[in-house]
Symmetry: C2
Subunit: 621 residues, 2 copies
């Protein structure tokens, strides 16, 4: 692939352009032009079909603005940060882990061959693990390897830089809010509402939306930007061992994927192992079926988009790389010209988020989990001897009794131990309605400890959540790169081999010449296609037909419908397919149906010759 | 319509809920639940079909974050403000025009009957014109009418409050950016790129995206919120009289709409006049065909969504209400329980935006407009008499000559007049490359004035733009209100009569009882519907069938497919339609096609009895 012609066509044909270009642009902000916007709209429809509709998920839409207290509770205010270093001379800022990665990559490229296998493995292992390293680790690496800034100057001490954009809401002073760094939090906010509609676990909620991250060093076009779209799923399960199984695992068990485990990365291996999902589960490479199921579904979805399976892998996060909320995570990495890039992340967030929000908001976010059979459980209880205590505590005795009898578990052990060791326990009862709290001294002879049993029909649990999260811009960029090629016959002629069902414009209608009859017939054909629901355009510029084919190829339009002089006689047209450049002749009545079938993927181009005569390409091709 | 049951069902069935509800919510922020998100997704598909595809527009996606200089140039930093007043006792903030409107509405309601016609008209005229009034006007109104805060306290002087959210981008200090208050600016940024693809005027660009406005007093659920989605179109024309005509005007000329002109509003009339688009053009109620065309297309689109035509009107902005960039604007207002509410705005922004951005960025944003025939134009020119001047100005003479000969139009008149009146003119030439500027004294005998002619083949013009802009949340809310009703038989039973093609879930599959055979057949039917691309759900809860119908009606699912014991014998099922509650019996092989045809609107329910036997409703209904 010619990188420069790829970058050139992206801008020249208005696929992806720097935002605010006429004002010189802003780093990390890009606009999507018409062809990419169409790809994106169809991508979202396919994503909704493949995930939301097929799995009966609840898709919701939450706000971009999130109040401070929500992100305090979720841990983002304290911990959603990258480590930054500054060039001490010119003040330039860098994301420290990426700076060290690029230092190591250069070192490996320069000295790799002179190193023995163990040294290479050690460097690779370091390279694999530097992403997301702590300021302390970064500091040590910078010092030990004498890393300098790209301008050759010394670097500052590393420090965390929070990636959230902060603003104020409301008139006058307002209150602190942030732009959401992930869509997930909105789903957690609505967990109870979702459960009310779904009625039981497991169920999943989904969201498509923009997120904002004030990246320290944006780079690589759509790959590291300061705002981007995400498609996120939160799949809630009850957290029991059974709940990690998945009823549809058999539908993906056969998928053969490259899995790059944390162990393999730490061992400095350059790549993972290819195996079936079933094999990965059998060998405990994947921890459970639900994670495995989403890896399989994601893989199938990416293939449907036209990504090259040889350039996809699933890479497990190293323990140190896990986000503060995650206990396991597998990224889907896509191999691009700039290297392996995360395009999907599938995280096991356990019960972290619902737990912290329940605590911070005071709202119960548990589910009642009914046992298959009621269970008899024994428990300890401390009861007040009323005869002794009535005189001592008078009107407070009932309050004290209920308070003491509510003490359970560890707190009860503390009470017991304290009474034994010190011969006294101070019971503190908070005051009601603004009254002061009261302390009461409890002596060993006031109480007795009993063991009792009760039948439990179930318990309240905080659901666990598995989160597949898709980066829309990165996936679109991957589709662009994997679909791009140049014609063998002419390097200047570039093509995108987009799947016909993914592309926005299915057909370009071309009158052979600027002749009134051809032009009017062409407009008529265009209208007919559109009325059949086929998104089509016309190029009636009068440029040579070969030039117009090339212009359509350049933006990946899969089919060209040419109106020639025979069309004026019998209504038939030629259909040319983008990648083979082969043509068939089709009658006017069949045109819309043929294009519709080819576009939806119902009919493959390779089979159309059975039904329609192949015709010779024009000279221009 | 029972308002409380409407509000209740919106929250209870998770249509629209306050964002961050478990933390007590944030004023002006709402989340869309599953049913509304599905409506919104289908709404966007329909909007794209009706506008973008049908008119061959270029849809693009720009960023939410916009740098300061762009919004400085567009006038938003200085002028995108509402007028605010504060309660001087408790500091509460209010949007001043809305406060006065509500004061006037109360006054009219209380005293209306006792006023004569002229007094009523005067009050109505004032009510019609207070929206968007200046701080000075507001101050006068507050003083003259003694308006107090809702708590009965005196109000502060009114002052402008900018509605944009401000934040910083980049590491360390960063630069000032805003969240976009409209998507339009992103389109103007990409005008040149769009023109390159479209190749000629007229052409249109479109964008769907979120915008952010820090409303002073958010209210009425989705109607005045602090972030919302917009669908905007910028239709670029060259600004010549011919360019305001529209080739497809005949396709909407027959639309019969209520038009409420600025004049009628100022005259205190309570409503506009109903007329056809053609009539409105003939009588100059609408200024030009392009505005009229978009009004007609908008009207047709809103009808397709199921809005009640009797509750729609188009209202022209009063001159004082026009945004700083607009020279004419027609809103589509929708009558809701809280009154007439703007849901679409169609503004004539003239060449304002491209002009200010061209000036501020220094980038040429003109189009070359070729004349039908080349035009000979005469022009004046001042030439230097070289013989006289060579000696005076020496090595500077050529620079002076080229500078003088470049002076044109008004500047040339100034030069001429000054030479005549003072006998001298000072020519200032800026220094190059940091050199100081130089002044030269020009005397009358150094120059001569000539008249010359040249052939012009066209001219560079800054395109004009007509902007239809749709508020997605407001339209969705209008659909919800206009679609809501309660059954005559039982006020507790509420229904949404959503158009089947607009609703997300087309069919609910209901096994009659919790019987293993019925359940397994039901799941099978569900899977078959889904495989045919029909979004369907199942309610196998075992609640009485009538209760389950009601639950589906409550969220507007148009068709219920019931699996009963006859299904086990011959595979046939019943289909029940939501609004008529009538049922037909359909064979298993025809089911998917029948539901698909009914859902897409290809077949109307009223005609299905021709082909399928009507069957009796179950007892429960």
């Amino acid at each position: 692939m010619s990188e420069s012609s790829f970058a050139n066509v992206l801008v020249r044909r208005f696929f992806v352009v720097p935002a605010f270009e006429i004002y010189g642009g802003v780093a990390g902000l890009y606009d999507l032009g018409p062809s990419t916007t169409e790809l994106r709209n169809n991508f979202l429809s396919m994503w909704r079909q493949h995930f939301v509709v097929a799995e009966d998920m609840l898709e919701i839409m939450c706000t971009n603005i999130v109040p401070d207290k929500v992100l305090q509770a979720s841990g983002h205010v304290a911990r959603f940060a990258d480590v930054m270093v500054k060039d001490t001379k010119n003040g330039e800022c860098f994301r420290a882990d990426k700076l060290i990665e690029s230092y190591l990559e250069k070192k490996l490229a320069a000295e790799g061959k002179s190193l023995d296998e163990d040294q290479q493995k050690a460097l690779n292992s370091l390279l694999n693990s530097v992403d997301g390293a702590s300021p302390e680790v970064i500091k040590e690496l910078i010092q030990s390897m004498h890393v300098l800034s790209p301008s050759g100057n010394p670097l500052s001490d590393p420090f965390p830089f929070n990636l959230m954009f902060q603003t104020n809401i409301g008139p006058s002073a307002g209150s602190t809010v942030y732009l959401r760094p992930e869509t997930a939090q909105g789903i957690f906010m609505n967990f109870k509402r979702g459960l009310e509609q779904a009625k039981q676990l497991p169920f999943a909620m989904a969201q498509v939306g923009t997120v904002f991250r004030n990246e320290i060093s944006p780079r690589n076009s759509l790959l590291r930007v300061r705002e981007f779209e995400q498609c996120e799923i939160e799949h809630f399960i009850d957290g029991t061992p059974d709940s990690f199984r998945h009823p549809k695992i058999s539908t993906v068990a056969w998928c053969y994927v490259e899995l790059f485990t944390a162990d393999d990365q730490l061992a400095g291996l350059p790549c993972g192992k290819k195996m079936s999902i079933q094999n990965a589960l059998d060998n405990k490479v994947l921890a459970h079926e639900t994670m495995a199921y989403f890896i399989g579904r994601t893989y199938l979805f990416l293939l449907k988009l036209g990504l090259d399976p040889a350039r996809l892998r699933f890479r497990q996060h190293l323990p140190k790389q896990l986000a503060h909320y995650a206990r396991d995570c597998w990224d889907c990495d896509c191999l691009l010209s700039c290297g392996w890039t995360e395009i999907v992340g599938i995280a096991d967030r356990s019960a972290y988020d619902l737990q912290v929000h329940s605590k911070a908001s005071g709202v119960d976010l548990t589910c009642f989990l009914k046992y298959p059979e009621p269970r008899e459980v024994s428990y300890n209880i401390c009861t007040l001897k009323m005869k002794e205590c009535a005189k001592v505590f008078k009107q407070d005795v009932n309050l004290i009794r209920s308070t003491i009898e509510a003490i359970q578990g560890e707190d009860l052990e503390v009470l017991k131990a304290e009474l034994q060791s010190t011969g006294s326990y101070t019971l503190r009862i908070p005051g009601k309605d603004g009254e002061a709290e009261k302390d009461f001294e409890i002596l060993p002879n006031y109480v007795q400890f009993n063991c009792d049993t009760k039948m439990l029909h179930g318990e309240s649990i905080v659901p666990h959540v598995i989160e597949p999260s898709f980066g829309v811009g990165r996936i679109l960029y991957s589709i662009l790169e994997h679909s791009f090629y140049t014609r063998n016959i002419d390097e200047q002629r570039t093509v995108f081999r987009f799947k016909p069902y993914l592309v926005g414009c299915k057909a370009i209608v071309l009158p052979l010449q600027r002749n009134d009859d051809l032009l009017s017939t062409s407009s008529h054909v265009l209208e007919r296609l559109r009325r059949s629901g086929i998104a089509a355009k016309q190029d009636a510029t009068g440029a040579p037909i070969g030039r117009r084919y090339a212009r359509a190829d350049e933006i990946g339009i899969p089919f060209a419908v040419t109106i020639d002089f025979q069309t004026l006689e019998d209504g038939s047209v030629t259909i040319r397919e983008r990648d083979s450049m082969d043509q068939i002749r089709v009658g006017s009545k069949q045109l819309s149906q043929v294009i519709a079938n080819l576009s939806s993927g119902k009919v493959q181009w390779s089979t159309v010759y059975k039904h329609f005569p192949r015709c010779e390409a024009t000279n221009a091709e």
